[in-house]
């Protein structure tokens, strides 16, 4: 057995209530690592032959919760959630921070595979090898905070009753869905710790479709044996010392960017990306720090960075709203994108989004889109059930978010996410509203624009990514660039937080992998073979698509129309994406990753990677 793994996966069929343990060969562990890589492998093996017919929100989808060998060892614990995405019909490796991955490994499992769907709401309670499917009717409909409170109490009570002489039981780690997930909203998250989210991919909706409200896990064992613990300790020290030196990053996390990215790099979504520049000092990090932070350092297992902060509104209309201080993405998408520039309104919306179990990025994108359609008179007060989402009106946007989470009135249509809602609204109004939808392949764009050319994504980053608009997995050249999707696949497959790698030598993550697993891995091997294989599988499934939507690279490997409009304001006024340059870069990227001129992975490339069946499946698209 390979070091760093428990060697076992838990498989639960919610239809039959059959629970079993399964194993994978060491060779598969070595090739696909864990997390995102494993998700691609498992989904392809199980569903690949009928991928196009699989409804992501049906019992035939497989939902995955996967650790990686580095989970718990590399500073900053996470867990990777995956399955067939109800947003892209492809596969997204969606990771969320917290202790869940560590608890799961301590319970003896590298991951959980969920199939089928329950008849009534259930949650899974795992205490080491004791696994039970429990009734969740009493928490169905509850928001994130209530769900965590009730299940923490209930599970600790069970542990206390079953093991009366153990002493006090720490809380189990819980992943859950809010009302949005229950109602199969496509922008629903899988949540942790009130405020953390696996957002991209829409796996909250998949959990909801399976009537799985939560998974609570308590593991009492140690993390698995590693190949070289002294080396793990030494490398951990290198990472921590680097991070501790970077006090400003620790202090602000990405929270300084709500002002900075607008004011300096001019790449922040404002009023649905109609602008990307602002100079609103009311949205400065000092305002957040001095007005709403109540805990300046908050983090997850083993994390030296603790980029999170806890924020609470102390006065005014939104008094009592609690969330982690909005990071850059939510400052942008639940702030500037609505024309909102105060910490209090931003914290209020972020807290509400947590409670409803919605993705702040993608729901913020969707509501910004609705705001623009309202501004243009395409959607009216009547269409919106009497609501008027004027820029800057936090309460109007909040009311729409609630409607989406519960699929009430107009919320039912909007709950399909920006792209699908745009298709429906376009049909209803007979207007091309897709031009205002800032998304790529069903996944809303992260809050990093490409027009100014001053932010990190490139002009092909979203268009060519196998995870669409996901800003944490962007396509770029060269393929071994530190921002490249192929490198991100390592973070998401070894499963740890890449916010802890910014200042350390690039090779350290592979040294860490070797110290844990005992296996040699060079960056070259990773990028040219293993990561490329995972990327091709993700691309294959993305292009095969689903029963409701399929993507054609010629049309959909493309930027949102908005990015071809010139920036209307700020220091980079007039700048835009050059379409000819985009086509040129896209062509170079296709060549580099081995896709033909139509964007389909080449037969020869797939066969060289041992993906003969993927090659056969793609034949019909060529």
């Amino acid at each position: 057995m390979t070091f760093g793994y428990t060697g076992k996966f838990l498989e639960v069929d919610l239809s039959t209530e059959n629970i079993k343990e399964i194993k994978f060969d060491d060779e598969v562990l070595g090739e696909y690592i864990g997390g995102r890589g494993f998700a691609a492998k498992i989904l392809w093996d199980r569903l690949g032959s009928k991928w196009e017919t699989i409804n992501p929100l049906g019992p035939e989808n497989t939902l995955l919760f996967l650790t990686g060998p580095l989970t718990g060892f590399f500073p900053g614990g996470r867990i990777c959630v995956s399955g067939k995405s109800p947003q892209s019909n492809g596969v997204v490796g969606s990771t969320v921070a917290g202790e869940f991955g560590v608890e799961l490994k301590c319970a003896g499992y590298d991951g959980i595979i969920i199939t089928g769907e329950a008849e009534k709401p259930v949650y899974l309670f795992i205490k080491d090898s004791d696994v039970e499917i429990r009734n969740a009717s009493h928490v169905w409909g509850k928001d994130a905070k209530q769900t965590v409170t009730l299940l923490t109490k209930e599970c600790r009570g069970l542990l206390k009753k079953r093991f009366p002489h153990y002493g006090e039981w720490k809380e189990p780690s819980i992943l859950y869905v809010g009302p949005a997930g229950e109602n199969k909203v496509r922008t629903a998250i899988v949540g942790a710790k009130w405020t953390h989210a696996a957002g991209y991919g829409g796996y909250g909706a998949v959990m909801g479709s399976k009537k799985l409200k939560a998974i609570a896990v308590k593991g009492t064992g140690p993390l698995p044996e590693v190949a070289d613990m002294e080396k793990v300790k030494q490398l951990t020290q290198v990472i921590c010392e680097d991070v501790y030196e970077n006090e400003l990053w620790r202090r602000w996390g990405t929270g300084s960017a709500g002002y900075e990215v607008g004011a300096t790099t001019s790449s922040e979504p404002i009023r649905n990306w109609q602008e990307e520049w602002h100079d609103e000092k009311s949205f400065g990090v000092d305002k957040f720090e001095n007005r709403v932070w109540i805990k300046p350092y908050w983090g997850d297992f083993g994390c030296p960075t603790t980029c999170l902060k806890i924020a609470m509104v102390k006065t005014g209309r939104f008094k009592g709203a609690i969330t982690d201080n909005p990071d850059y993405e939510l400052q942008a998408y639940l702030g500037t994108n609505f024309g909102i520039f105060t910490p209090e309104e931003n914290v209020f919306l972020s807290s509400l989004i947590d409670d409803l179990g919605l993705c702040g990025i993608q729901t913020g994108n969707l509501l910004g889109f609705v705001g623009e359609l309202f501004q243009r008179g395409i959607l009216t007060k009547q269409d919106l059930d009497g609501l008027e989402p004027k820029w800057g009106d936090a309460e109007a946007f909040a009311a729409l978010a609630r409607k989406i989470a519960f699929r009430e009135g107009i919320g039912d249509m909007l709950a399909e996410g920006t792209y699908r809602a745009a298709l429906k609204i376009g049909e209803m109004k007979n207007v091309d509203v897709l031009q205002y939808a800032v998304q790529c392949k069903g996944i809303s764009l992260g809050a990093h624009g490409i027009r100014s050319g001053k932010d990190y994504p490139e002009i092909i980053s979203y268009a060519c990514s196998v995870q669409g608009g996901d800003h944490t997995s962007v396509a770029c050249l060269p393929l071994d660039d530190s921002r490249s999707e192929l490198i991100m696949i390592f973070h998401d497959s070894a499963v740890y937080c890449y916010f802890n790698i910014f200042g350390i030598p690039r090779n350290l993550k592979f040294e860490f992998y070797k110290a844990v697993t005992g296996l040699e891995l060079t960056q070259e091997q990773w990028v040219n073979t293993k990561a490329l294989r995972i990327l091709q599988l993700q691309r294959a499934m993305l292009l095969l698509g689903g029963p409701d939507l399929k993507w054609k690279p010629k049309i959909h490997d493309e930027n949102p129309a908005r990015f071809y409009e010139p920036l209307p304001s700020g220091p980079y006024k007039g700048k835009t994406v050059d379409k000819a340059k985009f086509e040129e870069d896209k062509k170079r990227y296709y060549e580099a990753v081995g896709w033909d001129e139509n964007g389909i992975p080449k037969s020869m490339v797939l066969r060289k990677l041992g993906l003969e069946d993927a090659d056969k499946a793609l034949e019909k698209l060529r």
């Binding site: 965590v148 006090e168 720490k170 805990k295 994390c303 609690i322």
Partner: protein, 175 residues
């Protein structure tokens, strides 16, 4: 860090705890040579998100756990003032848990003996990592004649207090 010669105490500022759990990692690596949160002698509780705190021995002035032990498995380290567990003698009866006003001791998850902080012989590893990270939740101080026992509280009691401190009246809703 020099090892203090006189009895020590770990001063604790719960509201600063980031929840990074590096104290658990350091403790279990030191005592078990594994990363093993449940076998750590200091455990971070998070009964309510945002209200994380380390739960560990407060070395009460009257050591009720030592007093209550029928098999004399618990003793006081004359050098540091820590409670020492004789793993051979301990029968895992759990009476020390009930004797502790904070219900701090807990069973080793796989062995039949109790776990109590031994102050690492005078150089607590949890304090080291907490100081390195500049969290300052934990700090080693000389043990004086104070009512340290006040700090031996159950996880629920500590959470209740922190909930009020952090979230005010709202805090009550989350308990």
């Amino acid at each position: 860090m020099t090892t203090k010669k006189e009895p020590i105490w770990i001063a604790r500022d719960f509201s600063k705890c980031s929840g990074c759990r590096k104290c658990e990692i350091a403790c279990s690596l030191f005592h078990e040579n594994r990363i093993w949160p449940e076998a750590s002698r200091i455990r971070v509780f998070m009964l309510v998100p945002g209200l994380e705190f380390p739960h560990f021995c407060a070395q009460c002035e009257d050591y009720p756990c030592v007093e209550t032990c029928q098999v004399k498995a618990l003793s006081i380290d004359s050098k540091t003032g820590a409670v020492l567990v004789d793993e051979e003698k301990c029968t895992g009866c759990a009476q020390c848990i009930d004797a502790c006003p904070g219900r701090v001791p807990h069973m080793h998850p796989t062995e039949n003996h109790i776990l109590i902080c031994d102050l690492c012989g005078g150089d607590p590893q949890c304090v080291k990592v907490c100081q390195e990270g500049k969290w300052n939740v934990l700090k080693t101080v000389s043990k004086k004649n104070y009512a340290y026992k006040l700090y031996a509280r159950t996880p629920e009691e500590i959470t209740q207090d922190l909930a009020v401190k952090m979230y005010g009246e709202l805090g009550e809703e989350f308990l």
